[in-house]
Chain length 216, copies 2
């Protein structure tokens, strides 16, 4: 069978990356539910599902390799393939971070009441960023990519607030809970950051410039 | 001027990635010295030097793009270019983690005595892993890549031990120091992990298999 034409292969590649991005966002949503509602079985399921993410990333890289091998793309098409390889790595990493949240949830230690609401917000923001990044990947909409920056600023603000709660003299939950919260906050913040990087990779693919170098 | 032949471009790409890997390892070594010896000016310098890492990564990606554009490589050569794009992302991330260690050092809060020795060991191991990864990138030595796994196991062991110290009832340094140590331990562990991923990318480039799928 002859290889599919380049535009078809590029569409398949975008679709695969979009699905991968949806999958890791759903994993983070489920991990967050497991964390907030102490559902250890759900947490274990998210941990197990991670293998599927690895397989999907490998598939995306195979599509990218085929596009390079069969069509020797140039200019914008070449940028699109290179950006996909970069983005696939970031999206897999988002999957690892979702698994890390699930791993904390699986320990079933529960969350101090002062940080529950903010962690829930961080989870919602991160999942939202992941789903927006999926849309950017699928639609190559550069303007939507700019929207992610504002959400990421909100995430950074929540991250800072979390530390001020942790480090306040009134913190009464001891070091173990502080360690859990420190890591959870970092997982959410990193997930959001990778989502923004994925969107940036698409902006680069479409425009040929890294965001920040062009006014979007 | 005609483009350089493919083998020359691939050599340049390996050299560039090797230099990048050396640079981020040196950055982590200096950040660790700044942390252990409370040298805030050195920490600030590491933070500033990070811009150079970003520029070097962009250069590596340009070399990879040129190789694809001018030579349409296939088989092992194509794998080498794709692996380089993956590895460049991981090495830049190692640079970010070195900067994070420097950021903690720049705060000048000092380290609790119980964790100094282990953090120093983690730093040494991480720098060593970074330099070994640089050698793997330059020499494409698959057997050396396997050596990194053992060092990474030692790092994981130190990481676990650090948490047992933090969570022991005898911890007397309060939550702020615990938060610092939690993050520092994670930065070192992640740096080491990325170094292993870089070596894996090279194994994939040379053998066509992900490590673990082949007995090395």
């Amino acid at each position: 069978m002859p290889p599919a034409p380049l535009p078809t292969q590029l569409d398949q590649l975008c679709a695969q990356l979009g699905t991968l991005c949806d999958t890791v966002s759903t994993a983070l949503r489920r991990a967050s539910v497991a964390l907030l509602e102490n559902r250890e079985r759900l947490a274990t399921q998210v941990i197990c599902d991670y293998r599927g993410v690895q397989a999907m990333r490998a598939e995306a890289e195979e599509l990218a390799t085929d596009a390079l091998l069969f069509h020797q793309p140039v200019a914008g098409d070449l940028r699109a393939v290179i950006s996909s390889i970069r983005a696939a790595g970031d999206i897999e990493r988002m999957g690892v971070l979702a698994r890390h949240v699930a791993e904390v949830a699986a320990c079933g230690r529960g969350l101090p009441v002062e940080v529950r609401a903010d962690l829930e917000r961080m989870g919602r923001l991160a999942v939202g960023l992941g789903l927006k990044a999926a849309d950017v990947v699928r639609t190559r909409n550069v303007l939507l990519a700019a929207e992610l920056e504002a959400d990421d600023d909100a995430m950074d603000e929540l991250h800072r607030r979390m530390f001020s709660v942790l480090l306040a003299p009134g913190w009464s939950h001891g070091v173990p809970a502080a360690v859990d919260v420190t890591l959870l906050a970092r997982y959410y913040e990193r997930f959001a950051d990778h989502a923004v990087t994925v969107a940036h990779a698409i902006v680069y693919a479409v425009t040929g410039h890294e965001p920040g170098a062009i006014p979007i």
